[in-house]
C-alpha cells in the first residue's frame, strides 16, 4: 500500500471528480463535503510522500510496471514532493473557502464547478509528478481546459477574457508540443531521464537549439512573463473569487516548476548556462517584468487587477533568479515558489471576502473596512507585509536569498529592481491601509453614525482559510531554515 502512494495522489481526486456529478444529481448538498474529503486524502498522501522522499531519496514509480523508456514513470524528488504538498494544501484551503462565495456568485452551477475544480487540481498534480514529456503535455492541457471553463463563468467581461486566454494558452501549449516533437525527432525518446542521458551528445545540433527556444517561449506564455502577460489581468480579475483563488497561486508557479525542470534536468546546466546566453536574457526579462508589474500596479483602481500585476512582478523575481544561475539564487527561487503560492493565496482570498461582503472589488470599496472586518484585514496586513518583505514573514527570506544570489554575481541591476519593487509595494499597500482606516476623509466618519459600529465580518468558512494562510506565512518565515536544509538544499541542481 505504501508503495502505491504516488498514484493515490492523482487517482483519488480523479475518481472523486468522476462521481461528483452523479452525487450532485442525487443530493446537491453532499458535493461540498465530498470535495473536502477527496482533497484531504490527497493532501495526506502528498505529505506522506514528502516524508518518504526526505527519508529515502527519489521515488521512481513505474505505471503499469512497464520499465521506462518504454512505459511512463513517475519521478518524485525533493522539488516535486514540495510542489505536491503546496498544490494539495492550497487546493484544500480554497475548497474550504469556496462554499459561500460560490453560492453568491454562480448559484445553480455549483456541482459542475466542483467537478471542474477537482479536475484542475488533478491536472496540476499530474504536471508536477510525471517523468515523461508527452504526459506533461496531456496534463498541461487538462489544467488549461479546466482553467478556461472556471474563468469563463465569472462576472461580466469574463467570457471574452477567457477567450483571449484560450488563444494565448493554446499557442503556448502548441509550442510546447512542437518542441517535444523536435526533441523526439532528434533522440527518439520521450522520458525525461532518458533524454538527459541522450542529449549531451547532440548539444550542438540546430534541432535541439530550436526545441529549447520553443520550450522557453511556450512556458513563458503560460507563466505570464512580460511581455506575454496580457492574458493575465483580465482573466484573473473577472473570474469568480474561488476560481481566481485556485488558479492564481498555482498556474504560474507550476509553469515556473516546468521551466526549472526543462532547464536543469532535461537540458543540463552545461547547455543552458554555458552554451547559450539564456541566463543573461532571463535576468533582463525578470528585471523588465518586475518594473513593468510594479509600475502598472500603481496605476490601477481595481483591487483585484492590482493583485494581478503584483503576481506578474513576482514571476519576474523567479525568472530573474533562475537566470542568475548560482545555487543561492536557485534556493531563493524554490523558496519563493513556496512563499509566493501562499502569499498570492492570501491576497486573493482577502479579495474574495471583500467581494462577497461588498459586491465589488474596487479600491474605493475598502473605506473603513478595518473597523468592519478586523480579522480579515489583520490577515491582509500580514500578507501585505510579506509581499513588501518584512521579517519574520516568509517574503523577507526569499527576497534575501535572491539579493544574496545577485550580489554574488555582481548583478546590481537585479538588486536595484528588487528594492524598487519593495518600495512600490510599500506605496501600494499603505495606500490601501490609509483608505481602510479612514484617514483620508475624517469628516465623513461621523456622518453615517449608525453604520460605524456595524461589524460585518466574513462567514466562518471563508475566514478560517484566510487566517490559516496568514499563520502559514509567519510560520514558514520562522522555520525557513528548516525547510531549506531538509528539502530545498537537495532540490537545487548542481551548477
Amino acid at each position: 500500500m505504501i508503495d502505491q502512494l504516488p498514484v493515490f495522489i492523482i487517482v483519488i481526486p480523479l475518481i472523486f471528480a468522476f462521481i461528483t456529478p452523479l452525487l450532485g444529481w442525487w443530493k446537491e448538498k453532499l458535493c461540498y463535503p465530498w470535495v473536502l474529503l477527496s482533497l484531504s486524502l490527497s493532501t495526506l498522501c502528498s505529505v506522506f510522500v514528502l516524508n518518504r522522499v526526505i527519508n529515502t531519496g527519489t521515488i521512481h514509480y513505474y505505471l503499469g510496471s512497464w520499465t521506462p523508456p518504454w512505459g511512463i514513470e513517475y519521478v518524485i524528488d525533493h522539488l516535486n514532493a514540495l510542489m505536491l504538498v503546496i498544490i494539495s494544501v492550497t487546493a484544500l484551503l480554497v475548497a474550504i473557502y469556496s462554499k459561500k462565495s460560490l453560492e453568491q456568485e454562480i448559484p445553480g452551477k455549483i456541482v459542475y464547478f466542483y467537478t471542474i475544480f477537482l479536475l484542475q487540481v488533478v491536472g496540476f498534480l499530474g504536471i508536477v509528478i510525471t517523468g515523461d514529456m508527452f504526459n506533461l503535455y496531456v496534463f498541461l492541457e487538462i489544467t488549461s481546459l479546466t482553467g478556461y471553463a472556471l474563468i469563463a463563468v465569472g462576472e461580466d467581461g469574463a467570457p471574452l477574457a477567457s477567450f483571449r486566454y484560450i488563444i494565448m494558452g493554446t499557442v503556448g501549449a502548441c509550442f510546447y508540443l512542437l518542441a517535444v516533437g523536435y526533441l523526439y525527432i532528434a533522440t527518439g525518446s520521450l522520458n525525461i531521464a532518458d533524454l538527459a542521458r541522450l542529449l549531451p551528445n547532440i548539444y550542438s545540433s540546430k534541432v535541439i537549439l530550436v526545441a529549447f527556444a520553443f520550450f522557453f517561449v511556450g512556458i513563458a506564455i503560460k507563466m505570464a512573463l512580460f511581455p506575454l502577460h496580457v492574458w493575465l489581468p483580465d482573466a484573473y480579475t473577472r473570474a469568480p473569487s474561488a476560481a481566481s483563488a485556485l488558479i492564481a497561486p498555482l498556474m504560474t508557479k507550476v509553469s515556473v516548476y516546468v521551466m526549472i525542470r526543462i532547464m536543469f534536468t532535461v537540458f543540463k546546466p552545461s547547455f543552458t548556462i554555458d552554451m547559450l546566453p539564456i541566463a543573461d536574457i532571463m535576468v533582463w526579462l525578470g528585471i523588465f517584468a518586475i518594473i513593468a508589474g510594479a509600475v502598472m500596479a500603481l496605476a490601477q483602481t481595481d483591487f483585484k487587477r492590482m493583485l494581478c500585476y503584483i503576481v506578474i512582478a513576482e514571476i519576474g523575481y523567479m525568472v530573474g533568479g533562475t537566470g542568475l544561475a548560482n545555487s543561492i539564487a536557485i534556493k531563493g527561487v524554490i523558496l519563493h515558489i513556496l512563499n509566493d503560492a501562499i502569499m498570492t493565496l492570501g491576497l486573493f482570498t482577502v479579495a474574495g471576502i471583500v467581494s462577497y461582503q461588498l459586491r465589488g472589488h474596487k479600491l474605493s470599496d475598502f473605506k473603513d473596512l478595518f473597523k468592519k472586518m478586523p480579522f480579515t484585514m489583520a490577515a491582509f496586513v500580514v500578507t501585505a507585509l510579506s509581499i513588501i518583505g518584512v521579517p519574520p514573514t516568509c517574503g523577507f527570506f526569499s527576497k534575501w536569498y535572491l539579493i544574496q544570489g545577485a550580489v554574488t554575481v555582481h548583478c546590481w541591476a537585479f538588486v536595484a529592481a528588487l528594492l524598487f519593487s519593495s518600495l512600490v509595494n510599500i506605496i501600494l499597500f499603505f495606500r490601501i491601509f490609509e483608505i481602510g482606516y479612514g484617514f483620508h476623509e475624517p469628516g465623513e466618519v461621523h456622518v453615517h453614525g449608525g453604520e460605524k459600529a456595524f461589524i460585518m465580518e466574513a462567514p466562518m468558512t471563508m475566514l478560517i482559510p484566510t487566517i490559516i494562510t496568514a499563520l502559514c506565512i509567519i510560520l514558514i518565515g520562522i522555520y525557513n531554515q528548516l525547510i531549506i536544509t531538509n528539502i530545498i538544499r537537495f532540490a537545487v541542481p548542481e551548477l
Binding site: F134, Y137, V138, E141, S144, L145, Y148, A149, A152, D156, G157, P159, L160, S162, F163, I166, I167, T170, V171, C174, L177, L178, G181, Y184, I185
Partner: protein
C-alpha cells in the same frame, strides 16, 4: 542542393501550414476565424508528428498479419512503420477537439451576451 530540398520538403510544407494557422489566430479580428486558425495550427503539428513515423521502402502499417495461430514468423523491424507518433497524435487529436469544444462554448456565451463576434465591437460594447 536539390537533394537537400527533396529530402526535407515535407517539413517546410508543415511549417507553412502552421504559420498560416498561427497568423489567423493572432492577426484576425473575428472570434470564429481565430478558432479556425487554432484548428489549422494544431492539425499541422499533427501532420508533422505523423510524418516522423514514415519509413521508405516496403514499410507497411504497424499491424502484424497472420499473428495468431500457425507458428511465429520473424518480425522485421524495418517492414513496419513506427507506431509511437501515431499513438501520441491520437491523444493530441482528442485534446484538439476538446479545446475546440470549450472554445466554441465560450463563443456561444459571448454571442448570447453581446450579439456580435467581432473583437473590436465587443470591446466597444464593454466600455
Amino acid at each position: 542542393m536539390f537533394d537537400f530540398i527533396i529530402s526535407k520538403y515535407n517539413y517546410w510544407f508543415y511549417i507553412i501550414l502552421m504559420m498560416i494557422g498561427f497568423y489567423a489566430m493572432i492577426g484576425k479580428r473575428n472570434l470564429v476565424k481565430k478558432i479556425i486558425g487554432m484548428n489549422i495550427f494544431q492539425t499541422a503539428i499533427i501532420l508533422f508528428y505523423v510524418s516522423i513515423a514514415c519509413k521508405k521502402g516496403a514499410a507497411t502499417l504497424p499491424i502484424l498479419e497472420h499473428a495468431h495461430g500457425h507458428g511465429e514468423h520473424a518480425i522485421e523491424v524495418s517492414s513496419y512503420l513506427n507506431p509511437l507518433p501515431h499513438v501520441l497524435m491520437l491523444t493530441a487529436i482528442v485534446v484538439m477537439v476538446a479545446t475546440l469544444g470549450v472554445a466554441l462554448a465560450i463563443v456561444i456565451k459571448i454571442y448570447r451576451r453581446y450579439g456580435t463576434l467581432e473583437e473590436d465591437e465587443i470591446i466597444e460594447a464593454m466600455r
